[in-house]
């Protein structure tokens, strides 16, 4: 049984994989971009520096596509199963994800900063799902934030939990997107009003399966998407 094999400390909720339509949407955007860039590189007169920049973007879009595919495959693999949860060092995960997305942000003309918390907090989570969620949220912020803006990844301790925030200075979310995120019945359907926002849907389902909460706060100056997960009690007992 999965429980014994993975030596987990707690079980999450049964995971609802995203619908096929939502998954297809998720993959369509980077694929369309790669196709368009390939067409442009063969049809358009470009300077060398411009050509190199566009070629680099194809690579980054392909990496994003692979990341999405792994997330979706993992989601389907665990469909209707209880997730094995374990203590996860959030500092290590945040550092890894920030490193992975740094180039993608730079290619969009943005600065991505990771602001570590004062302590190394350990949460109860599924490590690869947490990484996938944070990667998803950061890429989404990068895509929807104007060039020259800052994106910040920062964990903040709340009562018995850790809130990992992704703050950006993008245009925020439309009312429809906010409503769709708030309605449980729409979890597995495409989000209206914000292209590329579908990643939030997958992220929300993964966070829910880890007994966590995904929140979206939009303001005129940008948006903050946060993932709140319970802190590991077992680690504090050992301290």
């Amino acid at each position: 049984m999965q429980r014994q094999q993975t030596n987990f400390i707690d079980g999450g909720r049964a995971l609802e994989a995203p619908s096929l339509v939502a998954a297809a949407h998720e993959l369509k955007e980077p694929l369309a971009l790669i196709r368009l860039y390939a067409q442009m590189l063969s049809d358009t007169a470009l300077e060398d520096s411009e050509r190199r920049r566009f070629e680099r973007r194809i690579g980054l879009a392909a990496e994003q596509l692979l990341e999405l595919t792994s997330g979706l495959v993992e989601g389907y693999r665990w469909q209707q199963q209880v997730l094995p949860l374990e203590p996860v060092n959030t500092h290590v995960v945040c550092e890894e994800v920030a490193h992975e997305v740094f180039e993608y942000a730079r290619a969009h003309g943005q600065q991505l900063a990771y602001r570590p918390a004062s302590s190394r907090y350990v949460v109860v989570a599924h490590r690869s799902f947490l990484k996938n969620v944070l990667n998803n949220l950061l890429c989404n912020a990068v895509k929807h934030t104007p060039a020259g803006s800052d994106i910040v990844l920062q964990p903040v301790k709340r009562q018995g939990a850790l809130q990992i925030q992704v703050c950006d200075t993008g245009p925020g979310f439309s009312k429809n997107t906010m409503k769709a995120l708030q309605r449980a019945e729409n979890l597995r359907q495409p989000l209206p009003g914000r292209s590329g926002g579908l990643g939030l849907l997958v992220a929300q389902e993964l966070v829910r399966a880890m007994y966590g909460e995904l929140r979206v706060v939009a303001s005129r100056s940008g948006g903050t998407v946060s993932v709140t997960l319970p802190l590991s009690q077992q680690i504090s007992l050992l301290a």
């Binding site: 339509v21 369509k28 955007e29 694929l31 369309a32 971009l33 196709r35 368009l36 860039y37 067409q39 442009m40 049809d43 358009t44 007169a45 470009l46 411009e50 566009f54 973007r57 879009a61 969009h108 895509k143 929807h144 104007p146 060039a147 993008g170 245009p171 925020g172 979310f173 439309s174 997107t177 495409p190 209206p192 009003g193 914000r194 292209s195 590329g196």
Partner: protein
Amino acid sequence: MSQPSIMLIDDDRWYADAVVANLREDYTVTWCSGAQMAIEAIDQSPPQAIVLDMLMPGGNGSVFLQELQSYTDTAMIPVILCSSIDFMPQAATLQAYGVRHVFDKAKLDFSELRATLATCVASEKVSHAL
């Protein structure tokens, strides 16, 4: 002779870069990342055709189309929709909003886009002359 001016409205910067790079030899392309920005830019200098995405943050394409139709001077600007939206409104509804052609963003072909733009710009010149 100056190039015809077109406006591209799309929140996806990388997608927009590719379209601009492909069209810039024949058109002066103004890129706007949102509907509000586009409305302000049109007030300053109306383009001869518009390429519009439907799904954008902070006011989507349909809001923009309604705004465009609200004024006689902008209602005549031909619009080409370029979107990956699944449930596109019916052709008759779109025509009433000045939409001349609809492209699936995921399958966009530059030669088809250029041909459609050439037709739109030519018809805009004729209607302007009349």
